[in-house]
């Protein structure tokens, strides 16, 4: 003999909304009039659970932690226009000086040591994606485009660039599966502020083949699903969106 299932007319989600004061007036009225004993019992159960949850923690502490996270997510303040021009101008002067030094150098090309490429980055128009790998000693090393990593490697992302805006980091593994690594749990790109080293590390799985990492940046909010087709299939990016790519080989 099987026990009859108590009849429910309202979903848990509607009961949650009722407790949060979020149910529409029409559904709230319907709940008042049509709730079955099973609905009422479940509502009372959820209410008791809510009270127990709030009693189990320090709400002020939780709110402080939330506000700290919000601060970390805030975009950097915009620089004054003259300052924004000053930096590229300085970079141009430095580049010119470097060219002059090379021009007047007496060294033959064959004598020169090729530049150390450990810090090689790939650059989008407005950003550069830098990937750091945790080492056994507890430090981290900067990976270069084309480096080889092993499954289990722990990586952190840094996005270099001076503009405030919104960022997402997407990975595409050897099976062509895409993963949004930052911001985790989100389709919307996250605001990026002065802190350019993104929070949290990821650990590489054992899916064979190269893994491509894309930092996607725009000064305006965007959702990853609007840029993913362009990234995966090489299509056109939406206006104002730039991408920096790093490819790592997996052993």
């Amino acid at each position: 003999m099987t026990e009859a299932k108590p009849e429910r007319r309202f979903t848990d989600l509607e009961l949650e909304r009722k407790l949060a004061g979020d149910l529409s007036p029409a559904r709230a009225a319907a709940l008042e009039a049509e709730a079955t004993p099973a609905d009422k019992a479940r509502l009372a159960e959820l209410e008791a659970q809510s009270a127990a949850f709030l009693a189990s923690l320090d709400v002020d502490h939780e709110v402080r932690r939330i506000e700290q996270r919000v601060e970390r997510m805030k975009p950097a303040p915009k620089r004054p226009l003259w300052l924004r021009w000053l930096l590229p101008a300085g970079a141009l002067m430095a580049a010119a000086a470097a060219l002059l030094l090379v021009f007047f150098s007496n060294k033959k090309p064959s004598d020169r040591v090729p530049p150390h490429d450990d810090d090689l980055l790939t650059k989008g128009d407005d950003i550069s994606l830098v990937i750091h790998a945790a080492t056994d000693s507890g430090d981290s090393s900067k990976l270069a485009n084309g480096d080889t990593i092993t499954p289990g490697a722990r990586l952190r992302f840094e996005v270099q660039g001076s503009k405030p805006g919104f960022i997402a980091v997407v990975g595409i593994d050897g099976s062509a599966a895409s993963t949004i690594y930052y911001p985790w749990g989100a389709n919307e790109a996250a605001p990026i502020g002065t802190e350019r080293l993104l929070p949290q590390a990821i650990q590489i799985d054992a899916t064979p083949g190269d893994e491509k990492f894309f930092a996607v940046f725009s000064t305006k909010p965007f959702t990853v699903d609007t840029v993913l087709p362009a990234i995966t299939k090489g299509g056109t990016l939406p206006p104002g969106v730039s991408v920096s790519e790093v490819v790592l080989h997996k052993k």
Binding site: D22, S24, I180
Partner: protein, 176 residues
């Protein structure tokens, strides 16, 4: 003294009103109350950091959607962190006697990559929580047609993804 939300409430007030439901939601997906508590913090932070970008939807609707997606993504990250953590035997300890639900959750986490937050929320409600299309429509203030379209898109997405990755067990698992 704490700040205010885009809707003008205090953060404390918003937390008291919505955190218990969000914690239940996150815990039902990730199976661990401590992870769920962290996800609730992350959910509120993302909601508040976005300012008034959520206009047009109620705070609960937005928070619930963020929490669901954050939890699903947490499962995806567990996959990248350690295959062992995906072992149903391990996760069953957190979720009681629901290893089958854990299987389906991980399958769904894998298969919903690339979908929008709202589509993921609807797919989880339908395939994991067993909500009917009518139930989802009423619970999320969406039309039944919109819910049907989102589920159809998910099915299409699932077929493509399964074909590309050779992933066949998942479909059986989430359709049980």
């Amino acid at each position: 003294m704490h700040g205010t939300t885009p809707a003008g409430d205090s953060v404390t007030e918003l937390y008291r009103r919505h955190a218990p439901a969000l914690h239940r939601r996150c815990a039902s997906i990730v199976g661990n109350p401590d992870d769920a508590r962290d996800l609730v913090q992350e959910t509120f932070a993302r909601y508040l950091a976005a300012g008034d970008r959520w206009s047009g939807a109620t705070p609960f609707a937005v928070l619930y959607r963020i929490a669901t997606n954050a939890s699903i993504d947490k499962l995806r990250r567990r996959k990248t962190a350690s295959e062992d953590e995906l072992d149903p035997e391990v996760q069953a300890g957190d979720l009681g006697s629901e290893p089958r639900r854990v299987d389906a959750l991980h399958d769904l986490a894998f298969l919903t990559r690339g979908l929008s937050e709202e589509e993921v929320t609807v797919a989880v409600l339908h395939h994991l929580d067993g909500y009917t299309q009518d139930g989802i429509a009423e619970s999320l203030d969406l039309s039944r047609r919109t819910v049907g379209k989102m589920l159809a898109k998910f099915e299409e997405h699932l077929k493509k993804r399964a074909a590309r990755t050779g992933f066949t067990e998942a479909k059986a698992a989430i359709n049980d």
